[in-house]
Structures are given as C-alpha cells and as structure tokens.
C-alpha cells in the first residue's frame, strides 16, 4: 500500500460539533493529524473545550460536521459495525454496572467481534485472553468479580478488555480520573509500555498534563482557537502550553514542564 498505510488513525480538516434542534453547532475545526503504530498520544484541553466530542467523533459515535477520518487508510464511514469493532476499541470514563462478571469474563467480552452468534470462545480467543492477562499481570485477580475491584484495578481490567478486542487503535476517555497520583502515573506508564510492546496506537484524553508530557510520544492540544499536535518537547519550546488556559491564575513553567499558580502580589 501507499504511505498512508503506516498511519493507523488520520484526520484531515475535521470539524466537530453536534446537532441541537436541527442547528449544527461547531465546537472545533481545522483538526488534522496522522497517528502511527506504537504511539501513545495524549489529548489535553480545558473543561468543556470538546475533548470528549473529538474522541466520540473518532470512535464513530458522533458524525463529523466536516472533514474525513481514516482508520488504517480507509474512510471510517465505509466500516460496518463489526469491522469497526475489529479496528478500534474504547475505554470509557466512569464505572461499569455492578454484576457477577469476573475479570476474565470482562476481558473475554472483548472477543465478541470475533465469536459466533452465541459468543462461544475458540482456542484462539482463549489464547488471546491469556496473553492479555499475562501482559497486564492480572493473574492474581482474574477470578474476582467486577464490584470487588479497586478503581485502579478496574481501569486495568477495562484496558485488558480493549486489548483483547485486538484492534490497531485504542481510545481511552480520561483513564486517570478517580485515581491517586501513583496510580495515575502507573496507568499512563502502562499505556506507554503497551503501546510500544503491542505496536498499537493508543490515544487518551487527560488532565494530567505534567505526567502526559513525560510519557507521551505525541500530544494534542485543543483550545478554542487552535488545534496543535506535536512531540511534548516541541510543544514546550514553542510555548503552546501557555495558550491552553486563561492566564489570570496559572502559568506554564517550561523549566519543570508543569503549571504553577501565579504569586499574588
């Protein structure tokens, strides 16, 4: 194939938004990027700027107002529900309903796009599930019920479910909410490790800017006026982080790669 095949997820001149009472409301436009295999990409931006809308549009839940999205070189609109499920998996923010599902069963659900009408697992499916459990070191808790898991463990299990879906792209919506600082760092380093070892493209939205700067291969910055995507070090040197938030309260400190509260005079 052509050069495009090396990119798993591409967007060109994307305009996102939603329809309200038959009026199209645009949230952001001029979004263009091309993500490659094995990359960890963090999407950051202020609350309400449209991170979730962008992720939903990329997942195919929302339709874009303008522009195209390509998955593995093919327009996302040409994918059937089943094909899309084999190309892209998601980890949503928030908890899942309490049920008797065990860790292994949740991970096994990720095999649904591949199983027959009644969902029976083949040898390949079982091997894949085992591989995911080993990769994420879930062996000790594999028989726990979902309501017995801590927030950090649940996040790992939900990532495991997405991994067993065996897609080239995984999209996570704020995977670090509700976690303490240690588990935030742990989850993001795990994502980096998984992206590099499995050569999957992993895109996540987050508010942990300082951690993302240290761990991501690329970062997307979404603001009202602009969309930029680049390596974290380049984004620091060209001052992009300073435009993320209103400047009255906090400022970006390029030396430490984190935000500092302005001293009151």
């Amino acid at each position: 194939m052509s050069i495009t095949s090396s990119h798993t997820l591409e967007a060109s001149q994307l305009e996102i938004g939603y329809t309200h009472k038959k009026q199209v409301i645009s949230i952001a436009k001029n979004i263009s990027f091309a993500l490659g295999k094995g990359e960890l990409i963090g999407l950051i931006g202020a609350n309400g700027i449209g991170k979730s809308t962008l992720l939903k549009t990329l997942c195919g839940i929302n339709n874009p107002i303008n522009g195209t999205i390509k998955l593995n070189g093919k327009d996302v609109n040409t994918y059937s529900e089943q094909k899309l499920a084999k190309a892209l998996s998601v980890v949503l923010t928030g908890n899942i309903p309490a049920s008797n599902l065990t860790v292994t069963e949740i991970i096994a659900l990720g095999r649904q796009p591949y199983t027959n009408w009644i969902g029976s697992l083949t040898k390949t499916d079982i091997a894949k599930i085992k591989e995911v459990i080993d990769l994420l070191k879930l062996e000790p808790i594999k028989d726990r019920k979902n309501y017995e898991l801590s927030d950090g463990q649940l996040q790992k299990v939900l990532l495991g479910r997405a991994l067993s879906q065996d897609t080239s792209i995984i999209i996570l919506d704020e995977p670090t909410t509700h976690l303490d600082i240690y588990h935030k760092a742990y989850t993001l380093s795990l994502l980096k490790e998984v992206a590099h070892t499995t050569q999957k493209t992993i895109l996540f939205s987050t508010h942990e800017i300082d951690l993302a700067i240290q761990l991501c291969d690329q970062m997307m910055l979404l603001t009202k006026e602009d969309f930029v995507v680049n390596q974290p070090c380049n984004l620091i040197s060209n001052g992009s982080f300073s435009n993320l938030f209103p400047k009255d309260l906090i400022r970006f400190d390029a030396a430490t790669g984190s935000f500092k509260v302005n001293k009151t005079k």
């Binding site: 089943q82 998601v90 949503l92 899942i96 309903p97 008797n100 659900l109 796009p113 309501y147 479910r161």
Partner: protein, 340 residues
Amino acid sequence: MPKAVSYKTIFLGLVVLLLAGMIIDISLGSVKIPFTEVFQIVTGQGSSKETWTHIVLQYRLPKTITAILTGFGLSVSGLLMQTLFRNPLAGPFVLGISSGASLGVAILVMGGSIMGFSFLSSSLSIAIGASIGSFIVLLAILIVARNIRDTMALLIIGLMFGSLTSAIVNILSYFASMEKLQQYVFWNLGSLGNLSWPEVGLFAAVIFIGIFFTLFTIKGLNALLLGEQYAISMGVSVKKIRLIVMISASLLAGSITAFAGPITFIGLAVPHITRLLFKSANHLILIPATMLTGSIVMLFCDSIAQLPGSQFTLPINAITAIIGSPMVIWLLLRKRKILL
C-alpha cells in the same frame, strides 16, 4: 475447570427439585388421591376410580404444566428486562406490559356492561382481551423507543403507562356492576387451573416461541452488562437486541397474563435468586437457570396455594408475593449488594 462442574451440579439439583415439585403439585388438591394412584394415572396405567383419572389428567396435569410454563416465561422476561435496562428493579410489570393486559381484560369484563353491551366473558375472550391490551402497550412503547435512546427514560415511560392503565382500570371498576367487578377481581388474583388441554398447547407454543427469540440475544445481553456504549463499541446492534427483547418479553408476559392472570414477584425476584445461586452473569447459563428456578418456585407456590388437607385454594398471586417478598429481602440482606 472446577466452576463448570459446580454449574452442572446446581443444574442437576434444580432438575431433581423440578421433578419433585411436579410430583408434589400433581398429588395435592382438594380431593385426596393416594400418591400411588396419581403415579399410575400419570404413567398411563389407569386408576381404580374413574373420577380420579379425570381429576388428574383433565385438571391437575394441565395446571402443573401451566405453572411450569408461567415460571419459565415470567422469570426469563424479568431477566431480559433487568439486563436490557441494567436495572435490578425491572420486570414485565415495570414495562407496563402486564398492566396493558389488565387494561384489556378490564375493558372487556367491566367496560362492556358500562357501555351497554355485553361480551361473552369466557376464558378465551379474556385471553384475547389481555393479549390485545399488552400488545397495544408494547406498540406504544416501541414507538416511543424509536425516538428515545436512553433506556432509563424508557423504563420511566413504562412505569407511566402502568399507572395510566391502572387509573383507567380504577375508573372502570368504579362504574362497573358488582357481578362484573367480582369477575375482574377474580381474574386479577391469578389462577393456573383454568386452562383446557388445547389452551395449554397454545400457551406452550407462545412461551416457546418467546424463549426461542431470546437465544439470539444472549451474546448482546452479555455485552450490555458493561453498558450500551461498550456494547456498541464491540459491534453489538443494541437497537436490534432491544427490539428482540421487547418482542419476546411481551409475548411471554402478555400470554401469561392472558392465560393465568397478572402474577407478580416471579419476574422480579427469580432472576435475583438465580444470580445468587449461580454467581454468574453469563446469559448462556442464566437463561436456562432462571427457567428452571422460575418453574420450581411456581410449582412450590402452587402447592402451597392448594392448602394441603383442606377444601380451599388460595389465589396464586397472593402466594407468590407472600413467599417471594420476604425471600428476596432476606437474600439481599445477606448479600448487601444487588447485582446484574
């Protein structure tokens, strides 16, 4: 796999309980028939008394089969509703399907006399009235469901349909004649013993069609345990699953209400009992398991309703509630967590 073995053991235990329940249910009744005679009649060896053969074959056996079918249908439709709405309080009553059936019967029995014309209120016309009622409510819910994506909203709409229909029933009963009101009240108490063999055959056919449909929802329902968005992301057509579930649940709950009256508690409680018993969320296991548990509970309730040793038979609807509610409360208190 130690788990698979234990599932098998529980299933085996339930099958034994079901057989025992059937034997007890057939043996009990207002006429005392020795157990050995009952066994001989059922196995086709005849009996020393002609009337005993008639009672067992024409009355008790159809009633036992009706109890089993009712248990199958109500518990499965409850399980489907609970997973679809991811709400442990869901059941055929909550969706308003059973209330629709009640409304159909109320209009037929009480409405006719008020409007000045009278229908033949045989058991068959009651069955038709109930089926039309539940079908109309289902149709209304399906039309609303096309425009609403949120299942919580759908649940509330089902509840509203339920209160609306019961309000109409109340108005009808206010104006109805004493005789018609009594007829409706008796139907409302539920009865398993009113069906002839051809009616049992029709009932069984509808129940098995309804359960057959649910086989195609097993995979989708398992995915729905994680929520609708996850299910969609795994390639599940949630709309299709929702449609199949609603059709089969209304077939099951509608026909049961039509043939046996509005029987409460089973649809809500049996799925919870089954989940606690099997500690599983997999619908491949839960669907046959709730069918077994539901039929056992129905047989048990019906046996108690016979009031062994007396001439009286209590309304089945009261027994299901009296036995069921404390049982569910006890189970939940022990477990402290309501699961799907």
